[in-house]
């Protein structure tokens, strides 16, 4: 790791000032991606602004038909929260599938979505549940927020404050993890909202990160069953192909994961 200067912010305002006062800064969430990236010298910020000490960014609350989760909330806290398990069990299950126990104790929702790794789990939940991302300056829909592989709509100094998930009628996540890294080879989140509309989002597979699958959404809106999506394939031409699996393999996984997610949602 190259040299860096560590700063611990105690408020969002202080974090923003520390960031803009630096020639080259990065925000540090739980550090489960950024620290390894810095160790590999793929990132070398002059200043690191740690958001881990900001209490306002932590917490889970039910808020008029929605579930609001602070950006600094760890995967472990989401996975084990009674409120999350009661309102959106699919989201609690997703958080329990991220990395391993030690990673879940440190990694945060805000850090994960701000990084927008194409194989990360959370983006699929945000898009399928129609979540709203609150930042230090504005509110964005999940689909506005995620703009491409490792790309988001966030400005350099903008901080994710919280994510608000409308509580669905039912939802579930199914993931095929890479056996070594536990990142998603393909993960599909399905959600049926209280007004009856259906959203399906896939992660791990797309070249541009998370994407919706309109054909599956239409099929499930007509008939909510695993069989309804069994014959629907996504175009392999838009999918990732690497040493872990070809695009065609991932296309097949997306259909299988979608079937499993619908079955799990019940």
């Amino acid at each position: 790791m190259y040299e860096t200067n560590y700063h611990r912010a105690s408020s969002v305002e202080e974090a923003g000032k520390l960031f803009t006062g630096s020639e080259d800064a990065k925000y540090l969430g739980g550090g489960q991606t950024l620290i390894p990236t810095m160790k590999q010298r793929l990132a070398a910020p002059v200043d690191l602004v740690d958001l881990g000490g900001i209490d306002d960014l932590k917490g889970i609350a039910e808020d008029s038909g929605a579930l609001r989760i602070g950006a600094g909330t760890t995967h472990y806290d989401v996975a084990t929260s009674d409120v999350v398990k009661r309102l959106i069990p699919g989201l609690a299950h997703l958080a329990a599938c991220i990395g391993d126990p030690a990673v879940r104790h440190m990694g945060t929702m805000g850090g994960s979505i701000a990084n927008n790794d194409p194989a990360a789990d959370y983006p699929s939940a945000l898009v399928a549940l129609g979540a709203t991302v609150t930042t230090s300056t504005r509110e964005l829909s999940a689909e506005e927020f995620f703009t491409g592989m490792f790309e988001t709509a966030l400005e350099e100094d903008e901080i994710v404050i919280a994510v608000s998930f409308p509580v669905p009628e039912k939802s579930a996540y199914s993931k095929y993890p890479n056996p070594a890294s536990r990142y998603a080879m393909a993960g599909v989140f399905v959600a049926k909202t209280k007004d009856g509309s259906v959203r399906v989002a896939a992660t791990g597979a797309g070249q541009d990160g998370v994407f919706r699958i309109a054909a599956m959404e239409q099929a499930l809106a007509e008939t909510w069953s695993a069989d309804a999506v069994a014959g629907i394939s996504v175009d392999a031409g838009d999918l990732l192909s690497d040493i872990h699996g070809t695009a065609e393999y991932r296309a097949n996984l997306v259909t299988v994961m979608a079937k499993r997610a619908v079955a799990a949602a019940g």
Binding site: G31, I35, D50, P101, A102, H105, M106
Partner: protein, 162 residues
């Protein structure tokens, strides 16, 4: 350089270290506690697992400065004098190690797992919870047996105390 202070195995410690110092290097080099190991150095193997404020974390994937003023527990802090912690004793009893390199991380992960699950640990859960710890010698079987035995023993002790 920054002065990083923390409570390490119940003792207040402090050291001047570079901001980029990882927690594992702070523990091993600045404080001389070499029970915590560096295995893969890429967040995969879990040989470096310690507890920070009661939760298991990978100390190779955290800056020492992030643990500033925290309570940190390493494998050296488990035993009560000459009396081994029940998890340590169970690893010895069930031969839960061969070369021993992964053992400090395995034991710290096991203690954390038992704290969270109590006596409700079955083999499937133990194996799932060990996803972040790699052992290249044992095939895990005796590690799982040791953790199960320690969980049962600790839960029985707790019940007896109540």
């Amino acid at each position: 350089m920054t002065k990083v202070a923390m409570t390490l195995n119940g003792k207040k410690v402090t050291a001047d270290v570079e901001d980029r110092t990882l927690l594992v290097h702070y523990i091993r080099e600045a404080q001389g506690l070499t029970g915590t190991h560096v295995g893969c150095d890429t967040s995969q193997c879990g040989a470096c697992v310690v507890h920070v404020n009661g939760r298991a974390v990978k100390s190779c994937t955290m800056l020492a400065a992030q643990a500033s003023n925290a309570e940190v527990l390493t494998v050296e802090g488990l035993a009560n004098g000459a009396e081994l912690h029940p998890v340590q004793a169970a690893f010895r009893e069930h031969h839960g190690l061969q070369c021993g390199f992964c053992t400090p991380g395995m034991i710290m992960t096991a203690v954390d797992m038992i704290q969270r699950h109590g006596g409700n640990l079955d083999e499937k859960t133990i194996r799932h919870e060990l996803e972040g710890n790699i052992c290249r010698c044992t095939g895990y079987h005796n590690i799982v047996k040791a953790i199960k035995a320690a969980a049962d023993q600790m839960s029985a002790l707790q019940t007896a105390a109540e």
